[in-house]
């Protein structure tokens, strides 16, 4: 942790709180970035307890909004990632499954919906299907052991044209350096009118609570963040299947590009 000083954030008058979707959506003071930093700072200096620090470090969707807001450009999201790795054992992840079928394009299926089949119909060409039950093991993405998974992915997907619909899968591929396209880029008419946060470019934006460690460690807060997000937008269309799967449990009318694809085919 020495390379990730948390003292400035721990002393900060909580200036990035309006940017943080978890702080805003959960209404918990404990989720305010500077407050999280305070808990971790105490733990770093031997004054706090590790279980509390782990709870604090996971009140995060890893969206980067705090750093983007910060006038001092403090790398708090990175510090939180490092802290999580130190505080929480690496979660297990399943072995990669075989890629099924043949074709130029590989569609990575991260939920139960028949993505490859629908895309194949839409593009009128065979599509290979690659199912994953744990989004390629994204929960372990920051742990050193995940390097093996990244190499595996690079080897498996070399020379493949990859299409994704799920933000967690996209994150893993990005980390591995594997090029891919979003479904809504392959079929632009499926794109949500205003885009949705992770798919809309590099600028961090309000998150619906589906990303990062939040949903696994604080499911109730993830739902609160989702409700807050929905309450502040008329938008009921998203690009990212991870967001859709999270939000649809709160509001059944939410649809993503894959829903539209399935409906159209």
């Amino acid at each position: 942790m020495s390379s990730h000083r948390l003292d400035t954030c721990a002393l900060c008058p909580r200036l990035c709180r309006p940017a943080c979707p978890v702080a805003s959506g959960s209404a918990r003071e404990a989720a305010v970035p500077a407050v999280i930093a305070g808990v971790l700072f105490d733990w770093q200096r031997g004054l706090g307890d590790a279980a509390l620090a782990a709870k604090a470090a996971t009140l995060c969707v890893d969206c980067g909004a705090c750093q983007a807001h910060c006038h001092l450009d403090r790398p708090l999201p990175a510090a939180l990632r490092v802290a999580r790795v130190e505080l929480i054992p690496a979660p297990p992840y399943e072995a990669l499954r075989p890629i099924e079928g043949r074709g130029r394009i590989v569609a990575i299926e991260a939920d139960e919906r028949p993505f490859a089949k629908a895309l194949s119909r839409r593009l009128a060409e065979p599509i290979r299907r690659w199912p994953t039950a744990d989004r390629l093991g994204v929960a372990a993405i920051d742990y050193p052991v995940f390097e093996n998974r990244l190499s595996e992915l690079r080897a498996t997907l070399a020379d493949c044209e990859v299409v994704v619909a799920d933000g967690a899968v996209a994150e893993v591929l990005k980390r591995a350096g594997v090029p891919f396209r979003w479904l809504h880029e392959v079929v632009p008419e499926l794109a949500a009118p205003t885009g949705s946060c992770r798919t809309a470019g590099s600028k961090p934006a309000a998150c619906c609570g589906a990303a990062g460690p939040l949903a696994a460690h604080h499911p109730e807060d993830a739902v609160r963040v989702g409700k807050h997000w929905l309450a502040r937008t008329e938008e009921r269309r998203v690009n990212d299947a991870r967001c859709r799967n999270h939000l649809v449990a709160i509001d059944r009318t939410v649809r993503d590009a894959l829903d539209l694809l399935l409906e159209s085919t």
């Binding site: 003292d7 400035t8 721990a10 002393l11 900060c12 008058p13 909580r14 200036l15 990035c16 709180r17 309006p18 805003s24 209404a27 918990r28 003071e29 404990a30 305010v32 407050v35 305070g38 808990v39 200096r45 004054l47 509390l52 709870k55 604090a56 807001h69 006038h71 001092l72 807050h228």
Partner: protein
Amino acid sequence: MIDLVPEGVRWSEDLLDRNAVARDLWPGGTLRFWKGEHAPAPRIVVWPSTDAQVHAVLRRAEALKVPVIPYGMGSGVCGGARGREDAVTVDVKALDSIGPLDTERWTVDCGAGVNGQHLEDWLDARGFTLGHSPSSIWCSSVGGWAAARSAGQFSSKYGVFEDMVLQLRAVSPTRGPFIVGEGGDAPDAWMDSLLGSEGTLAVITSLRLRVWPKPQARALRGWSFPSVEAAVEAMRGLMQNELWPAVIRLYDPVDTRIGGKTKPEKDPGDRSFLKELLHAVDGLPEVRKRLLSLPLRLPGLINEVFDRMAAGCMLIVGFEGDPAVVAASERAGNRILTAAGGEDLGVAPGERWFRSRHHVSYKLMPIFERGGFADTMEVACAWSQLVPLYHAVRDALSPTVVVMAHMSHCYPEGASIYFSFAGRGDVDVYDATWKQALDAVLAIGGTATHHHGVGSLKAHAASVEVGAAVAGWRELKHLLDPKGVMNPGRLYVDVEGIVPPPVAFKPEPSDNLAHAHALANLAERRDAGAPREPLWDWESFPMPPRWQRLPWQTGVIEVSGTVDGHAVRLGRAPRSAAGPDLRGWLSARDPQAICTFATAELGARWLGEATCDRPWEVARELLRGDLRPAVLNVVRGRLRVGFRGAAAASFGAVASTRVPGGLAEIPWDAGSLPSGRLVPCEPGDERCAMTTPQGYFRREHP
């Protein structure tokens, strides 16, 4: 614990949540945190999401005699929301609805737990602004602004926060939910007592606020002045000429020098000597800490060195709003500033200030990191006392801390001074510094707080300042919270012994203040104000409640009288945040009370008259077009619009273009403003006596 939490209310007794609300942003608490000392965590945190839930929590707490601490965003700097081990903290952030926005009346409804920046972003997306921009806009809540009487950087145009509140919903243990202000079911006088009550009377749950369209023009400039005295004269000139700039900020010579505010903007690669030094020792935390804590160990010397280095001071002046009004105001303002000895530095310093106006909040952390403490203190007084107050507080602070100041939040009657200071990170030094500074302010007759409120830090000073008039707050406390569970130990404390009556304040002619009996009639007040005229010529005291006035229409300034045989003096400054505004209570209670009110010079004035259809509607549109007339009434069906001060004729010309058929100049006659409680009416109602951007009013008792 379960006993304390009614069915359906979200709660937590997780240490993570309890610790998170244990500490607010009181720098004394930050210093203790840095030293490894934790603030007391409350027993439980609850997040009610409706008024009924708030009431259920308060009733349980009252029955079980558990203290209640309302918590907004914890940005208070006086320890008002700090935890106590036996307490329940009521976090209001689940009261977070925004809207509806009434685009016809220019009002917005909003939950107390809404973040300030979120509200401003929401309004901005719809073409409006609240005009409230405290440096803490990112980290404070709307309810917290009301509870602690916040003031924003543009207060001289839009008013301080209480000027924006049209309606307030609150819940107390005994009364339950109630509404004050527009459409209220509780006495009007409660509004003044709830604003600034810092959680000691009730939980504020939602507010209706006055909003404005986003400004179409903004003109900010920097001015250099040879001395604080010269600049203060210029500031007074701007305000007393009724130009209502959005920004007036004077940096004292030290702040001007240290902050580099007179220099052109640096490119990002350009570093000052101090920054180079910091950079060089960045990798050596121990060296960095020692090196930079050195000045904090020798504050007296450093203050002297800074004084010698410093020369001249920087004033930022900005106008915003309607382009024609901004242009006329700026032209007149520039003449006043030049005549007072100011050198125009152009738009760059003003624009730089605007861009970085919230960044100052980032400057305090490095001082704590280096083993010191940093804090701020905002005091206020009438114009003639401002420079003496500035020197008195600097002298009191200088032996223990490095100090600099800026003056802002200006009114026709006076202004506030904001001291920033840094010292050795020692709790005893910290506590002693505050005591010296507060004693100095009270001795000279200023208010101990202009906008940060009281909390625990200033509870003693505020109690001395308010004196026996604390009975006004106690009366309401007895009605709303008779068991005393609401935020005990904050705001007011029992001060031992008889408090000596505070220094008598003798206004100078330059203050444009006059005194009159609380029961004085219009003629008596005009006599008392002579040779000037009352700035706002209310028919009688009390004036209409604040939400029926315009933000810039002040009522009384100081009220002095007696309570239970003790002399008291409230409103030592144009504005004080030393708890609720008890001046109305005092003047109603003591028939002998004396009120200080603002007057205007009989200088340049312009009055125009027009015969037009629906004159009150035209009048309202003038206000909505950013004009701030000294006279705006309808006399025998004819619209009258008048302005005072250096831009009077120019404002008159702008107004003339907006009145169908134009305004014809007539001899000055200030007329009078309706007093007492007003009743909303239609613009065509022949009893209509006043308008604000929100609507029309007639007298309750003709």
